[in-house]
């Protein structure tokens, strides 16, 4: 592998961010969130081994992280009871082993197909495991889940993993190593064949490879890393409930991996950070957060199927040709008007929820410091009017932006041709 300076810079920066982050954000909430981000990064990257690199859309991938988490918490309890002499820091590896083992078992069935049938089978297998988790309360702990205590065994060099910060650095270490391993995987012959299976399965078969076996092996690798992320989550929360294998969790992995961007290796990292921010902060902000998430996701599929990372890369490309500046006013205008759409539509949604849930408090409510009356026509009319005007303005701005954007792309294409002609 050619380790040039740029690569050292990127990976060094990645490690530095993970080391410095908890020193900058020192509240316990931010430490918990940073820990969750590390866990989510491993899970989303592992998910993207299938979605981005293999073109496999899984609706039941929480099964592998979830089962890994259950094996981790049981292992942890064995360690606590003194029945097993294993350092706590290695528990996630046990989880990874079991995640991989279940991927070997269940993946054999799921990877028989690709494309749409693959998606449906993963959904079915996910439901199977979810339903089973309620059937075997002995292992899955029923409604209450399984508790554990990560301060188990002898502290090593004074590290007991009791304080959140110690666990954070364990998670960060795992995240860094797993990211590196998964990146290395994309450079192996298997990783390359996986891309080929995604793009042209027929030709792969002609060349003499079995697409099924390539998918199967990638599935197992992905299951292993999902398991590690589940094991870390078990250590982090010290409780594992059946919710970790649910379809909701699987859906979240899909949604945020896609939002971050499946086409670039680093996309899921952005997705994972967004996932934690959305689950922890956005859900506090509004009850309708899933609606916003669904809308953002749908528009992303329609207008930017490469996710946020592709938006970044496209703009970097424009910037590298020195043509980003004329587009900046467009971005500013779109951002302002877009925010207006969200806030005014949000006002109506919040009024509905206020009427539904806080009936006892009366119709008066505060929204962004503005007093609204959820039962008055005035509040509704003004919110609707602002929304309508903002939507029309946004569409007008969007069309103008699309026109300029397309012209810029054409100019860049022409520029590339001119340079090539000059070089030749």
């Amino acid at each position: 592998m050619n380790l040039n300076r740029g690569r050292w810079l990127v990976w060094g920066g990645y490690a530095a961010v993970m080391i410095v982050a908890p020193l900058l954000f020192t509240t316990s909430l931010s430490h918990t969130m940073l820990s969750q981000m590390g866990i989510a990064i491993i899970a989303c990257l592992a998910y993207n081994m299938l979605l981005g690199q293999g073109g496999m859309l899984s609706f039941g991938h929480a099964v592998y992280s979830g089962l890994g988490a259950f094996f981790a918490i049981h292992t942890l309890n064995l360690v606590s009871n003194g029945q097993l002499a294993l350092p706590v820091s290695l528990v996630p590896l046990v989880a990874g082993f079991f995640g991989g083992l279940f991927a070997v078992l269940l993946g054999y069935v799921t990877t028989k197909k690709a494309g749409t049938p693959f998606a449906m089978i993963t959904l079915g297998v996910g439901e199977l495991v979810w339903a089973m988790s309620l059937m075997f309360p002995g292992f899955f702990g029923g409604e209450g889940g399984i508790n554990g205590n990560r301060v188990a065994g002898q502290p090593f060099l004074g590290i007991s993993f009791g304080p959140q910060i110690q666990l954070y650095y364990l998670i960060a270490a795992y995240t860094f190593v797993c990211t590196a391993l998964m990146f290395a995987f994309t450079r192996t012959p298997l990783g390359r064949m996986l891309n080929a299976v995604r793009d042209n399965p027929e030709r792969v078969e002609f060349v003499g490879y079995s697409t099924q076996i390539v998918r199967y092996l990638a599935f197992i690798a992905s299951g292993f890393f999902m398991g590690i992320s589940g094991g870390l989550a078990a250590l982090n929360f010290e409780i594992v409930t059946a919710e970790v294998v649910s379809a909701t969790r699987s859906g979240a992995f899909l949604l945020f991996t896609f939002l971050g961007g499946a086409t670039f290796f680093f996309g899921p990292i952005i997705g994972a950070v967004l996932m934690v921010l959305a689950l922890v902060l956005l859900s506090e902000l509004t009850l309708a957060w899933l609606l916003w998430l669904g809308l953002v996701f749908t528009f992303m599929v329609m207008y930017a199927p490469g996710g946020i990372s592709s938006l970044i890369m496209m703009n970097l490309r424009v910037a590298s040709f020195g043509r980003l500046k004329p587009l900046l006013p467009h971005y500013a205008a779109l951002a302002v008007v877009g925010l207006l759409v969200v806030l005014s539509a949000g006002a109506m949604i919040e009024m509905v929820y206020h009427l539904q849930l806080n009936e006892a408090l009366g119709p008066k409510m505060k929204y962004l410091g503005i007093a609204l009356d959820a039962k008055s026509a005035g509040s509704w009319l003004s919110a609707a009017l602002v929304t309508a005007v903002a939507v029309v303005a946004f569409e007008w701005l969007r069309r103008r932006f699309a026109r300029d954007w397309n012209r810029t792309q054409e100019e860049i294409a022409a520029e590339i041709q001119r340079r090539e002609a000059a070089a030749a």
């Binding site: 073109g55 859309l57 069935v109 028989k112 197909k113 690709a114 494309g115 749409t116 049938p117 998606a119 449906m120 089978i121 959904l123 079915g124 297998v125 996910g126 439901e127 199977l128 339903a131 089973m132 309620l134 059937m135 075997f136 002995g138 292992f139 379809a247 859906g251 899909l254 949604l255 896609f258 309708a288 899933l290 609606l291 998430l293 669904g294 809308l295 996701f297 749908t298 599929v301 329609m302 199927p305 949604i349 509905v352 929820y353 539904q356």
Partner: protein
């Protein structure tokens, strides 16, 4: 197992199976025509139930039954026209993803409009009673129309089981729908164009038919069928925000088991699943009991006792998915499927 229990389980199973089929037919129709797996199909089912509920509040159940499917069908067609068609050029995975996003949006909108609790959506007054009663006397088995006859109270040891009229009505609607779709697809000009657009889109287009509009119609029609199932299912069971999730995964299992894109397969799989599930739910035997009957000793000390002690009624919930896995191992095409993968 006695005869009346057998009969009523069979009838219940058939009614559940036919309801499943109403959902699966729309899904498999859209899939076979457009190659799009509509992840939001169960969401349109839920939407059908809620829209019918609102119409019922104003002008009565029958109008709800009549108006909700076309209304939801129009919404489905609009979604196809403005969102799905736009991502068609990106391939099948984005098509699946956009319907996945839509399922979130519909769920949230339903919660905003109708609230997070179940709504009180009931069958019409005229269909609330039992259609017939199976009277199982110690020495004879007979049917009686309507409510339980006097003999149920008079004779000791009589077992009377009622079959609700609305369940029967739902079955009739499903069968009627099946016949209507079949006639539409095979006996009308529209059906011929739809079938031709599936296999030879370019040829159909050059003959002057608007193929994208045909697809829009198919998508709208499929979602209207889901909504019709929703009106029946919502009134029969509970109309609540989790109803889509409860039924969605099962429907996917049904169309894989039946064979992707096969209407006949979807019918056999959904009715079969409904009947098997209904018998399993009614049984409190466990796998261990079966092994004991074969002469094996199964005690709480036996290895894996947790598995052997699971009751058949608990297994019912995972049966669709177990069958799905078994079918994929032994017959990857599905029961009636013609293509693999």
């Amino acid at each position: 197992m006695d005869a009346s229990y057998f009969l009523i389980s069979l009838l219940n199973g058939l009614s559940v199976g036919l309801l499943l089929f109403m959902l699966a037919s729309g899904l498999t129709l859209i899939f076979s025509m457009m190659g799009v797996l509509n992840f939001a199909h169960a969401s349109f089912y839920m939407l059908g139930a809620y829209v019918a509920y609102s119409i019922t509040q104003v002008i009565g159940f029958w109008w709800g039954l009549l108006l909700a499917p076309p209304l939801v069908g129009v919404l489905g067609a609009l979604f196809e026209r403005h969102a799905l068609r736009r991502v068609h050029k990106f391939g099948h995975v984005p098509e699946l993803l956009i319907t996945f996003g839509l399922s979130y949006i519909i769920l949230e909108l339903v919660q905003i409009i109708w609230g997070r609790q179940a709504v009180n959506f009931l069958p019409p007054e005229s269909l609330r009673g039992p259609l017939f009663t199976i009277v199982d006397l110690p020495d004879s088995l007979s049917f009686a129309w309507g409510a339980p006859p006097e003999v149920c109270k008079a004779v000791a040891g009589a077992v009377c089981t009622q079959f609700p009229a609305f369940r029967a009505f739902g079955m009739a609607v499903a069968v009627g729908m099946l016949v209507a779709i079949w006639l539409l697809l095979t006996r009308t000009r529209i059906g011929l164009v739809i079938q031709a657009a599936l296999t030879h889109p370019e040829m159909v287009e050059s003959l002057g038919h608007n193929v994208p509009r045909v697809f829009m119609g198919v998508f709208g029609g499929g979602t209207a069928l889901a909504a019709l199932a929703g009106v029946i299912g919502g009134a029969l069971r509970v109309t609540e925000p989790s109803m889509a999730l409860a039924v969605g995964a099962v429907v996917f299992a049904v169309i894989v088991i039946g064979g992707m894109g096969s209407l006949a397969g979807a019918f056999v799989a959904s009715v079969g699943l409904g009947v098997i599930e209904s018998f399993a739910v009614g049984s409190d035997r466990s796998i261990g009991d079966g092994l004991r009957a074969l002469g094996m000793a199964v005690t709480p000390d036996t290895f894996g006792y947790a598995v052997w002690a699971v009751k058949m009624s608990q297994v019912a919930a995972i049966l669709p998915y177990l069958l799905l896995v078994l079918i994929l191992i032994f017959r990857p095409k599905g029961l009636f499927g013609t293509r693999e993968g």
